[in-house]
Symmetry: C2
Subunit: 665 residues, 2 copies
């Protein structure tokens, strides 16, 4: 029987070898956290390497994602489909072992990590999803949802603001099955951390109402075991186990930032192997150590037991079991066609002017009662952004009922937590804030897009239409910035019918996050004879007789300007078409014939109108067209005055169109 | 003599009246914080309303900027150039009283606030600037720099992650003259905060090593006085005074979120005036209360005393006094022309391939020793981003010497703190992180641009050239997203000479922040016969004989591709021009004849090459041109392989050019 330290050293050796071979990587953290990982993964983690999708597996999140080789070594050693060739191929093109862990690339990797702090923040979301699902689906003797969320995180994660936002909520939310291991090695890239990180982290987490355990010796397997048991024993609070460790453990660069982000180098690699007593060839793990790590048998038996329980559960509670499978599988309710029809029909009947944020709220009033997977919330703007419905019940952490989370003024934390909820499965998280504050959450939106997560952002107060609150609250560049995030669908609908189409797209786009960009102010309603066009992202909302001499493209609140201007132009003998372009990303993915129909290549006389960054629209109007947009910040004044002040008037559109047409005639 | 409460009520009355008249605003916070403001502003704040630029004034930052009417009332009542007409004009176009405080618009407003948490974060930077300047310039009996930084902040600020990042640093930095008042009213927009904000904030700040005072009754002027004195008595730690207050104090909506963000309404406004015993007409403040508030006499005498001290100081230390005035005035050193010439000459001599991050580091090696105003730093990536030079001395908080700040892994906090340093004056802050992590700091960059602050960001590892670290660390959309921020100059230089031009622009652009976007990998060097062209942001780097048939535009690491491709094209009989476009914003501001010279309107055959979001470049190549850019995320592999994989090769550029030319021939 190998010792536990020998088992931990297998991680160390694989990490050293892979990083040396790649000439690139971060050895310090895997060397430092190997004993923590050994204790957790061999002693406590409930998982089945043969089935990384087993719904009740424990979730493990590596928040300090640069320690990727720790995770790959664990997955390899415990028996996931990650053969030694992949370890050898660390950080190479198309390998399953990229530089930082990537969800969807490596079996067993739950989440893409690397941007520090977001792993622990999403772990909070995972733990919340578990708690809510458990209440919903568990029955006496049938704990079908009953797993831990474990997270490793480092000093860098602790410094990042998102750790504050999410961990404060975790305490408030009393997430007793969230257990975090703080790899406190006292070193970050710039050196010994005291001159820039001197907080008492234990005291800080106690202030959040976490159970704080330690500091313990993070290389002492018995201390680790005891700490983990203590953490599990506290069911009413999340636990933080503070593990004092040595970065680069065993290497000549131990306790030095030099071990963090570069290969040890041949000599130091050899010295390290000697120091930890590892005498194998590179990439070789002795059979008995492999055996000691192999979790396949135990994992299979764990999942088998769960499957048996679930089968009995399905007999006793067939409806619940079916619903559980649907929820975990991410399937929409069978009644979805009817639900979406109802929403569309509500929208079609709307004739009075209405803000799209209100239109969005009305969609949610239709969806939420019949879609228990919708888990709503807001960063302290529930009323303004319309995310809370009559059927929204605030989550009660006494018993984890409810379908609505108050995130407080924490946009970034909200984004990372929503990512965690989506990663867990069983929910479609949606939440809202002002569009201007999407800035704060930007990297969480990016991670959602990289992971192709089904999360929905409601971003209201979408332009200078915000009015008196002024430039800090008036988005200008945010819409274009969101459109630049690859894989994010950004909708800016113009009325109720488009808002409903946007929502339907958001709910049915299972592998993409969606941002719904909505107005604060009331907007006109338009006739949409061909509603199926809307799903194409861009379409002809109003056409002229014959070929258009000018195409007016617009989104959201500016569509009404385009429509009024087109009327005037057509009245004065200029053939004008209006193209509504609520979702550029989806329009861009349409077949060429659709794009040609809407925006014929030879129709170069185009004007884009959007009360936001003008430059973006050159993508569609080129250098021959015109853009009526913003080129600087807004101002504090009533919204209507600002639209005039910045040139968003029918007169200005008409004038610009006439100029352009006369130039091209 | 009016009572102190009566004085506070003048703030309340003005706030109510202005918000009612505007039909818009946030009455809750001014009503709640009026007593805190009265205690601080009448009892302690050292300022001179006649001279908002007095260098040694106390700085006051309203982090919860929605309480703008509190600040406007204070400025009006104490005698700043903010007449009652401006108060009446609250939130109207071109008024001096915008919805949230805006630096540069209102005399006495130090900082644009509104995005919660950033006020307190920038206050940390202000206090650090004060401490460093004091060490540099004060002499026995001549404390020419000796002021407090006061900050009001609310629950929302406390929830935001940036408060964690910056306040943790403030504790580490022992900023004894930073005194923050936490307006703890227990209410945020979504209601009573307990379900989403239950942390023990005092304990949290104690964990940061702040002095925590209270909770005290924030409406008890004696308790406030005592707390402020206690805060001032602790000179080795920042102080947090926790003030329990009632939002909407005195109104029927007291202690309710309904008082937060909407006018009280005519009835409630009347009831409130009655409740607080205010019997004046709207916008009327009785003479004796005005007199009690008037700070002009005291302010003039404070500044006079300081001026006298400074005059004596100037006699004793003429060099120091001149230097102090230069620094506070934001003037560059007299030797700047020589310094910049030296940097340029270094760069011109560089022939070997070199990463632009290294080129940037070499510029700093020239600048830092001779420019004491440069206050450097990094978010824990000093070595990687090249911000630390031989002349960079880490700030020692035992005596506040040094010119380099280790910000730790806190990009957003770093940005907000840099803003504060620039707001204070006396320094040009510069700091670096990876470009991908500019996401986290986005809103601080935006605020820098809105405030037109002289701050410099070094953003390295600027593309898939990052290589093995993979998509989370490889920026794609970030460059374009930065370019979308109005008022920010974004430079992406291609070699040492361009990097130096970028740095010179950054240092001489006193009213704009600059982002320097730099490569991790080595790049070729080019001849620049006309160095003055570089300052135009875009210029012809290589031209052909006669009119170009194709223009290849590129930035940064892709310029070398364009240059090699142009050679090949010219060799095969296609006239190709290379335009290097390191700074689009500055190019766009050039006179038309320059733009026409570089990019003739009739030269529609254009290719833009940038290993980043392709869409941005339609701004320059229109619909007729081509873009070789990124349309999705990168991947984990060696950088060179990725450039091939994503089509950034000379062959691909040449092929694309030939296609385009043949289409247009």
């Amino acid at each position: 029987m190998p010792t536990r330290r020998e088992c931990a050293n297998a991680i160390r050796a694989l990490a050293i070898d892979a990083i040396e071979k790649a000439h690139s990587g971060h050895p310090g953290a895997p060397l430092g956290m190997a004993d923590m990982a050994e204790a957790l993964w061999r002693g406590f983690l409930r998982h089945n390497p043969a089935d990384p999708a087993w719904p009740d597996r424990d979730r493990f999140i590596l928040s300090n994602g640069h320690a990727s080789m720790l995770l790959y070594a664990l997955l390899h050693l415990t028996g996931y489909d990650l053969p030694i060739e992949e370890i050898r191929n660390f950080r190479q093109l198309n390998s399953k072992t990229p530089g930082h862990p990537e969800r969807g690339v490596t079996p067993g990797v739950e989440m893409t990590t690397g941007p520090l702090g977001q792993g622990i923040a999403s772990a909070v979301g995972i733990a919340m999803a578990e708690a809510l699902l458990a209440t919903r689906f568990n029955r006496p003797d049938f704990p079908v949802v009953n797993h831990y969320t474990w997270c490793f995180l480092g000093d860098g994660c602790m410094m990042e603001g998102v750790s504050h936002e999410a961990c404060a909520l975790a305490g408030t939310w009393k997430l007793g099955k969230l257990i975090a291991f703080y790899d406190s090695n006292g070193i970050s890239i710039d050196g010994k951390i005291d001159p820039w990180f001197s907080e008492n982290t234990g005291q800080r987490f106690a202030a959040y109402d976490w159970q704080v355990i330690g500091p313990i010796d993070g290389h002492d397997c018995n201390a680790l075991d005891a700490a983990i048991k203590e953490a599990q024993a506290e069911t009413g609070k999340p636990s933080l186990i503070i593990c004092k460790t040595h970065i680069g453990f065993g290497s000549p660069k131990e306790d030095s930032p030099a071990s963090h982000g570069s290969p040890l180098g041949e000599n130091a690699a050899r010295t390290t192997r000697e120091a930890i007593g590892w005498n194998e060839d590179t990439f070789v793990v002795p059979g008995e150590i492999r055996e000691a790590w192999d979790a396949r048998k135990k994992g299979a038996s764990l999942e088998k037991a769960w499957n048996e329980m679930f089968a009995a559960y399905a007999e006793t509670y067939p409806g619940l079991a079916t619903e559980f499978k649907r929820r975990i599988g991410g399937e929409l309710p069978a009644s979805w066609p009817e639900i979406s029809r109802r929403a569309r029909s509500h929208a079609t009947r709307q004739t009075a002017d209405q803000a799209t944020r209100v239109a969005s709220h009305k969609c949610l009033e239709v969806f939420v009662p019949d879609m228990p997977e919708l888990l709503g919330g807001s960063a302290d703007l529930s009323g303004s952004v319309g995310t809370q419905t009559a059927a929204s019940n605030p989550v009660d952490v006494a018993n984890y009922t409810g379908n609505y989370l108050f995130y407080g003024v924490r946009e970034f934390g909200m984004g990372a937590i929503m990512n965690g909820i989506a990663i867990h499965g069983g929910f479609i998280p949606y939440a809202g804030t002002f569009l201007a504050f999407s800035d704060q959450a930007k990297n969480a939106l990016r991670l959602a897009a990289i992971m192709q997560l089904h999360v929905i952002w409601i971003l209201t107060h979408d332009s200078i239409g915000v009015g008196e609150d002024g430039p800090t609250h008036q988005p200008v560049e945010q819409i274009a910035a969101l459109r630049l995030i690859p894989g994010l669908n950004v909708w800016r609908p113009c009325d109720d019918v488009e808002t409903t189409a946007a929502w339907i797209s958001a709910i049915t786009s299972k592998t993409a996050p969606t941002a719904l960009v909505l107005s604060r102010q009331k907007l006109a309603q338009f006739a949409h004879p061909n509603q199926e066009d809307l799903a194409r992202g861009g379409y002809i909302l109003k056409d002229c007789q014959g070929e258009p001499e000018i195409i007016l493209m617009a989104t959201g609140s500016e569509v009404q300007l385009a429509m009024a201007a087109a009327d005037e132009l057509n009245g004065s003998g200029i053939r004008a078409r209006v193209v509504s372009m609520p979702c550029c990303e989806i329009f861009d993915r349409q077949p060429d014939d659709w794009k040609e129909k809407v925006l014929p290549a030879n129709a170069k006389c185009r004007i884009a109108i959007e009360a936001a960054s003008a430059d973006w629209w050159r993508r569609y109007v080129g250098l021959d067209g015109a853009v009526i947009g913003m080129t600087g910040y807004g101002s504090s004044a009533p919204g209507k005055e600002l639209f005039k002040h910045f040139g968003f008037t029918v007169e200005h559109v008409v004038e610009t169109a006439k100029d352009l047409v006369s130039k091209n005639r």
